[in-house]
């Protein structure tokens, strides 16, 4: 599983990191984000790449899990 932390990063870094993380086609990816925009962008991006996405919100963090 690929895990990455995009908390506190300005646009477009969350997307750039996510794109890089799925380059070698992991079956599971976990992204830690903390802004609504980063969450929305990462979720949409993973969807577009064919992942099934679930988001857990705990405290100030979104844990975005993509699986396929």
């Amino acid at each position: 599983m690929k895990e990455l932390d995009v908390r506190g990063l300005s646009c477009p870094m969350p997307l750039m990191h996510t794109k890089k993380a799925i380059e070698d086609d992991p079956t599971e990816v976990l992204v830690h984000a903390d802004s609504g925009t980063a969450k929305a962008n990462v979720v949409a991006f993973l969807h577009d790449a064919g992942y099934t996405v679930t988001v857990d919100e705990s405290g100030d963090e979104y844990r975005i899990r993509g699986a396929r």
């Binding site: 870094m13 609504g36 577009d48």
Partner: protein
Amino acid sequence: MVERRVIGPTAWFLGGAGLFIGAVAAWLVSQGNPGNMGLCIACFLRDITGFFAGGVTGQGAVAYIRPEIIGIILGAMGAALFTREFRPRGGSQPLVRFVLGFIFMAGALIFLGCTVRAWLRLGGGDLTAIWGVLGIVAGVLVGIVFLKKGFNLGRAKAVAKPLGWVLPVFAVVLLVFAIIAEYGTAPGWTMSTAAGEGPGALSAALFMSLIAGLAIGVVAQRSRFCSIGGIRDAVLVKRYDLLFGVIGLLVGATVVNLVLGQYNLGFVDQPVAHNDALGSFAAMTVATFAAMLLGGCPFRQVIMGAEGDADSTTAVAGMLVGAGFMHWAGLASTPKGLAPAAWPALAVMAAVVLAIAWYGTRKTA
């Protein structure tokens, strides 16, 4: 890498958001706002600076508290609170962000419009805006070079809660002053453009602008509309959804301007614009480059400030101060063209943005 959709379902949402914002902006012109200036983050922040400091900065022609800005901030704040996305955060090089905001504004006031108004000018048939739009593309491409090299101003973190409320509180203060100026007597040290004295006197009715701003703020917060991010994402990550935002903006403004008989195709006699091609291109390149390093256009900075992002609020503060400086120093353009010292000022600012980009890249390399 596996196949990835490059246009996803959010493209429809962003396109719709852009259509709405462009249409409302064009409609605001029919209600009294200056030509092709139904919405302009740079111009409107500049007018607000004029209201408070116009006597010092010589902004007699551009002094008015634009209620659209108040509405956008409060609308975005409401949407963020409702969706639990309001989060006080900051601490990612605030001073650098202030400087980038300052420079963004400086470039916008040399072009005569921000990255939102560039598209709206085009949507009104103003072909001189093409030079500005080409500058946006160039600024995005230069920014991408540094982003690819690892440019990063550092991570924002949670900050003391009151810091997240600075921009919304500022909006409420603005609302109080706007109401006093409209229905009572504003303090003598403030300034409001007198009728016929400049674009600051042209506006839709206060509550019309306010309600339009509220709606735009909600739509922008939910859609994440950005006037430069679409081109950036398309080139950088091959994702085209955000690009539909500016396409929608252009289409919405064009259609409503045509319907309302406000469409004036050509290079001459365009409202609040000049036809200095090279100056427009260079000014928007520098401004967009600065916005790229901030992580979003000035519209996004206002929206994020309304979501509790203290760094974006600092960038907006830089824009407000930058506007005052540009008028005080006589560097802002007029419809006649660029100010004599605009080119040296642009050169200095380009050097500063490049230095910031280099610093932010070296630090993380």
